[in-house]
Symmetry: C2
Subunit: 548 residues, 2 copies
Amino acid sequence: MLQWLKLYRRDQLPGDISAGLVVAMMMIPQGMAYAMVAGLSPVVGIYASILPPIVYALFGSSMTQSVGPMAIISLMTAAVIGPMAPAGSALAGVLAAQLALVSGAVLLLCGLLRMGFLANFFSRPVMSGFTVGSAIVIAFDQLHTLLGAELPHWHAPSAALGIGALALLVLARLYGAGLLKRCGLPPVVADIGAKLAPMIVVLGGIALMSATSLADMGVRTTGAIPAGLPHLNLASSSSHWRALLQPGLLIGFIVFLMSMSGAQALALKRNEKLVSNHELIGLGAANVASALSGGFPVTGSLSRSAVNFAAGANTPLASLITAALLACALLAPTGWLSLLPLPVLAATIIVAVLGMLEMGILRTAWQYDRGDALAWGATCLGVLVLGVEAGVIIGVALSMGTLIWRASRPHIAVLGRIAGTEHFRNIERYPAETQPELLVLRIDANLFFGNVEAVSQRIECELATHPSARHLVLVMSAVSSIDTTALMALAELNQSVKRRQIGLHLAEVKGPVMDRLRNSTLLPELNGKLFLSTANAWDQLHTVKDVA
Amino acid sequence: MLQWLKLYRRDQLPGDISAGLVVAMMMIPQGMAYAMVAGLSPVVGIYASILPPIVYALFGSSMTQSVGPMAIISLMTAAVIGPMAPAGSALAGVLAAQLALVSGAVLLLCGLLRMGFLANFFSRPVMSGFTVGSAIVIAFDQLHTLLGAELPHWHAPSAALGIGALALLVLARLYGAGLLKRCGLPPVVADIGAKLAPMIVVLGGIALMSATSLADMGVRTTGAIPAGLPHLNLASSSSHWRALLQPGLLIGFIVFLMSMSGAQALALKRNEKLVSNHELIGLGAANVASALSGGFPVTGSLSRSAVNFAAGANTPLASLITAALLACALLAPTGWLSLLPLPVLAATIIVAVLGMLEMGILRTAWQYDRGDALAWGATCLGVLVLGVEAGVIIGVALSMGTLIWRASRPHIAVLGRIAGTEHFRNIERYPAETQPELLVLRIDANLFFGNVEAVSQRIECELATHPSARHLVLVMSAVSSIDTTALMALAELNQSVKRRQIGLHLAEVKGPVMDRLRNSTLLPELNGKLFLSTANAWDQLHTVKDVA
């Protein structure tokens, strides 16, 4: 905590200041836009961009993560509070803050319980399918704001403004950096400059609204924005807490996943190490802070963090500078912001989420593993058809389903001895000698509830095809763990072969596995012996036969 | 399908007839009791015991499974339909049948998609915790029927009858078989005879009600039972289907798990092989049949199947005989059954579920693996505090959580060469020689999304502690699969070491893994070579160094 401050070097300051400035200019339109996605008053997005990054700077472990509103989390927030309160209402604001508090508490609890491994619950294809599906939903949801009316109608002045802004932003995205480079700017500066297009378009929209009579023609604007800093805003009807518990849990989970995947990509570039348990605490504290300052659920945003990084952020001081600048913006007169036309804000949202339509992972998965590609498709479709919450559950179910399905087909090899050596190999692949009374099986998987049935069935199957076997040797060289379910199945196998007067022997059991097995009754009841090596088992069981 | 009929031998008939008879006598009180647990009219339990076992005999794969009402499935049914319709109402019956249809359809679909691997989603400790929690909930729910009034009140005549029946049943359970044996009955017959105690106590209760004025004193009975076979009963308000979809899915899942765990235990004793995909189809068809005959969700019951097995059942003919006998019972005058006192029925339920309070698995887990014991406790507590549906979800989450948590700590060994040999071993455990410019890591786990971050971090950590390494060799002898997420992480590792001018080499890649990798861009972009053996890598990379 705050280690970066103790080690702060003066030469890190310019980078942090420039990054702080750039991200603040990105944050104003983005925060307001994502608050709108969440069905909240735009100023809430700025509230949620002040305290959370400060708190994250104190507790988080990433140096360049920019914590604040994020499109997908806003979509999830809208899905929860939408049915409970009208968009933009005071109740919606209170519910959103409650939701952030629940998510934050969940994250803090997970962090204290050291449950950082939760980040491993989604495969990347599933994560990508979820992101793409959510991006499409968000973009589609903004169409009516962009066009100024519910589809299929449209309000001509709003639509002209919205589509115009959209065109400008798309052009800036495609050619902005190139144009700035040709104007002589250094590549890094040009890239960052292009990222400020939304702020420029927003300022242009405000200027247009104040100079023309578009407002009188019915173009909607954000409306009055209360000046001053946010204040504690959790007065609430207690009846809502229960309804927010399960969604808060899901949102906390996605807050963590989204932030980790972004932070990991950046940490890799800087050879920094992320500590997932610290991240849980940092994000949890940031969400609690968001709740206490009238905000809504926040997370680390990959796109914003990448800008922060590119603009030179060396330490979380950059985020502190951003937060300070946003606080100043709220303390200054905010009348000008009230003129911001909503169609322009919708255009910035659509362009931002179009950047999430990353198809590379789908392509890789399609070429490499059709199952993973199907999981991508099913998750994306799930979000589109059943909604973003169902999408999370489908994503987890698919990730876990793939895992269990793969585990349910463990590799087991019948071993034979390479003549004249002490080497044992799969008899299907090598010309190896076997003994009729000896069946040697190598289990190439950790034994756990997911594969224990398959392993048992395979062993029974091999025993059936080797009716003359009097000794069954399980070579455990590839087994690093045996859970309780597998232990019980081994004990059942032991009883079963005992009834058939077949010996059950274990060879090459790893140290940690053996330590565990000593706590069980399997070893004393084992109808056979333990062997250090397969060769030992081969020789001794062979000898026994010869003597008999 | 029906293979057993083609191979039927005459000497199998006596066993099947005796088992059919015994199970029918068990089924009448049990069916009625479990219908009561589900909040349905008792006769529904008998309906659900006729068509489902017949259909299961046609499609299932277990020879001795007795399919019909089961306590935990009834509890889950009650949890779903309880809030939607008053207990015992006609609507409750329609909803229960709809629920069976949804569960059956889900099971059939899973069977057709060959998703038998779903049986591997619960670890045994979680399954046991779920069963024990459910048993306690069921027993507690029956207390008010046993005592004839809502707690803390009680209705003296009902309570006397209920507690009397309970005492008799407990005594029969504890001493019944021993007593019968001392009377000279053979052990098997004595054990089976003791299992018929519920039927005898029920008959005694009916006799008592008809002989005394207990009914006038307010002891409730099952009431009029319509004679005749069930008829199609799915006229329904379509608005309910949606509400039943998710619970139907969960119930289908538990129907499958409960049936499989029971059937597996029996199949093991008979050296029979269960085909999980056939089981899905058999159970799915049985539930659809239950729905079409006015029943409710059914499954294979371990306790009843064990009696079926012990009473001599050789083939599903035993179940067909049971079904025929129950159909006859319904066609005969059913007036006598209407006198069955509910407190006695409650007593049979309580004794039946007390038999589920099996603590052996918890004991084993506690000794062997505290994590599994905690999962037992959390699942049991989840059922008790949050209900049976939440219990299923908690159970799956804990099973998966344990899995991902274990996966997130993969074993990776730094290898060195045993001097003068071609053997490579973990340098922490063996005195092995290393080369400063060569870092050889053996990855002892399949690479997938659950451990990919941990593996990457460990590799970076080893690179940091071996700053002189110019070549990183990953020994893949223990890696049987690499999923898309892991493939992408390997590609990132490749880019990352390339930037640092370190070679990335792969050794001992298994055949199937190599086939997969050929479909990716990792191999052409690899900043190093593939080696058949670690020794090859050691020699060649060493030589390169020497020459340089």
